[in-house]
């Protein structure tokens, strides 16, 4: 591989890696607070993509029950992305209410929370299929306004190409990461969240309303999941309601890679896996889907706490 090819792969990798990062952050936030993996996260990813699509295009469905249902309004892409993510965050809160809280208040086996979240995922995905059909939804190419679709960089004889969408994805992800970093590191809410993650019972003794912070966490998680779904959707289209499932599974590899519950770990893990996938030569692209999971295995063997995780592994 020459330097130009390397640069091309690197650019492709950090763009998709940045989305993996914000998506995986949603998983990791919930894990850090509850010690549970929310399997509905992949479904929220899909939901977010559909919501943003509807708001930006002003139409609900191509197929399904809501086929050709027009919305009375239509927003610009930026606003749609934001509202879509907020609605996804609210869906995240709903997931907490339905699938997690009843079990938590009873002190049930954490395995059950896993099953109930899988149940919610199943309902969401199939409800979506019922409502909007299994057609492919593709954002119109002028969704960002009238800008060129790609940038071409000539380096000697060689060519490096970057789609505008890739740049937008990367930029939006970076902004989101920076804001989240600020929220968690420098604000009162962030401090309280960290306290709850550290030890929920101590936090509640300190007068922190733990239930409320769990809700905040789920909102943030849903927000990030929906945002990631929308970004991926604008780049590659929404390939039917099952579209989030493979991202959901890949996200698991990302958080194990970075260290379960570690926020910087999720970002690093996302970047590593995004880059690793981008560097798979195209002859072997059929094996690309397995790269993230091969990493997961390697991490379990060599460094089970993940790249940036703490060494103690207790939570279920």
């Amino acid at each position: 591989m020459d330097a130009v090819q390397f640069l091309q792969n690197f650019l492709n990798g950090i763009s998709i890696g940045s989305v993996y990062a914000i998506f995986a952050l949603g998983y990791t936030l919930v894990f850090s607070i509850l010690g549970i993996i929310n399997f509905a996260h992949g479904a929220i990813f899909t939901l977010g993509a559909y919501l943003t699509y509807s708001l930006a295009v002003g139409q609900f469905g191509i197929g399904g029950l809501l086929a050709d249902l027009q919305l009375p309004f239509q927003f610009s892409f930026t606003i749609s992305l934001f509202i879509g993510a907020i609605l996804s965050g609210m869906a995240g809160v709903l997931v907490e209410r339905c699938a997690f809280r009843p079990l938590r208040t009873r002190g049930a086996d954490p395995l059950l929370a896993l099953v109930s979240s899988l149940g919610v995922a199943l309902v969401t995905v199939n409800l979506l299929q019922y409502l909007v059909g299994s057609e492919i939804y593709s954002f119109p190419s002028d969704v960002y306004g009238d800008i060129r679709p790609a940038f071409l960089l000539h380096i000697g004889e060689k060519l490096v190409v970057v789609r505008t969408v890739q740049i937008i994805i990367f930029a939006v992800s970076m902004v989101v990461l920076a804001l989240l970093g600020y929220l968690i590191g420098w604000t009162r809410i962030g401090k309280a969240l960290r306290a709850v993650a550290e030890n929920a019972s101590t936090a509640s003794l300190l007068g922190i309303n733990v239930d409320r912070f769990i809700l905040y966490t789920f909102f943030l998680s849903g927000f990030l999941g929906g945002m990631a779904g929308s970004l991926v959707g604008t780049s590659f289209g929404i390939a039917g309601p099952y579209f989030g499932v493979s991202y959901g599974l890949k996200g698991l590899a990302v958080i194990v890679m970075g260290g379960l519950g570690s926020i910087p770990g999720a970002v690093l893990g996302g970047m590593v896996i995004g880059l690793a996938e981008a560097f798979v030569p195209s002859e072997y692209s059929a094996y690309k889907e397995a790269v993230a999971f091969a990493f997961l295995f390697a991490v379990l063997l060599i460094r089970p706490q993940g790249l940036l995780g703490s060494s103690q592994i207790q939570k279920v």
């Binding site: 109930s116 149940g119 199943l122 309902v123 019922y130 889907e289 091969a294 295995f297 063997l301």
Partner: protein
């Protein structure tokens, strides 16, 4: 009767087959380990049997063994699944918690991608024209049925054995079990391997039953389905997986007229069952019986 078996024979055998797959998840759960690897071993076992039954290389074996190639396929599937389970299980089971579930999800996905790409597994189309053990679908009860009886006997004995008690001790409290001198990793790996061998053998039996085999047999969706069988049936009783497997795999057929809404209802069942039936149906029936015996003094059974 003949007509009935013509119509529903395939479905009845499917119920038994799905229950068996539920048991492959039940054994690791007995030791408190959530394994989602069953579809992987199921797919692997099916491929092994399908390749042995169709590949050119095995032709002399088939000529020599006749129908004996089928039991040999089950054996090979069981052994290879067991060995692979050791390789997957040991690194994942040194760790406590969710790691086994994650490692097994990864295992299923990696295996699926590999099977989709190899020539020997027939790529996307898979392997077809698998020779038949029986003419009618219903007759396959003669392979799955005895296996189910065997597994029921095995579970019954396991429940009452030292190994079974060790499994449960680890499920209740791994640290305490460790302190009592039980080696948790050893027993966790054992439970995982038992489940894997079972799934592999069921896969090997299923390949001729379904006539064809492909990479779509082992998916994450299937993992969820098997998990649901066990948890909704009841993960703490040996009858749970049987009940859950039969009920939930019959459900889609019963709900056939509902079409798309079918899977939505499946999902709702999962949510409600985990919230309201944490011990599964068998557990719930048990606690109702306890309630009636203790509080009302009726239906007291001799102890």
């Amino acid at each position: 009767m003949d007509q009935f078996l013509q119509n529903y024979g395939f479905l009845l055998v499917t119920l038994v087959q799905q229950s068996l797959l539920a048991y492959s998840l039940y054994f690791p759960l007995m030791a408190g380990q959530l394994s989602l690897a069953s579809p992987g071993f199921y797919a692997l076992g099916g491929y092994i049997a399908a390749i042995m039954a169709t590949a050119e290389y095995f032709a002399p074996w088939r000529d020599a063994l006749g129908w004996g190639i089928f039991p040999l396929g089950w054996l090979a599937a069981g052994i290879i699944s067991g060995i692979l389970a050791l390789l997957v299980g040991i690194p994942a089971l040194r760790l406590r918690g969710i790691y086994l579930a994650l490692a097994t999800i990864a295992f299923v996905e990696i295996l699926r991608v590999i099977c989709l790409n190899l020539a020997i597994t027939g790529g996307a189309i898979g392997i077809f024209g698998i020779p038949q053990l029986f003419e009618s679908r219903w007759s396959y009860i003669w392979t799955f049925g005895p296996l189910l009886l065997l597994i029921l006997c095995f579970s019954y004995r396991l429940d009452r054995s030292r190994v079974g008690r060790a499994f449960k001790a680890i499920r209740e409290d791994e640290l305490a079990a460790d302190a009592m001198g039980i080696n948790p990793t050893r027993y966790k790996v054992l439970a995982f391997v038992i489940g894997a061998v079972l799934a592999g053998v069921v896969g090997a039996m299923s390949a001729p039953f379904l006539n064809t085999w492909n990479a779509r047999q082992g998916t994450f969706d299937a993992s969820i389905a098997y998990l649901a069988y066990v948890l909704i049936g009841g993960s703490r009783s040996m009858w749970g997986p049987l009940l859950g497997g039969i009920m939930l795999s019959a459900l889609p057929e019963i709900l056939r007229p509902l079409k798309d809404a079918r899977l939505i209802i499946n999902g709702l069942v999962l949510v409600f069952a985990s919230i309201y039936l944490p011990q599964g149906i068998v557990g719930a029936v048990g606690s109702i019986r306890n309630f009636t015996t203790q509080t009302l003094g009726i239906g007291r059974s001799e102890k």
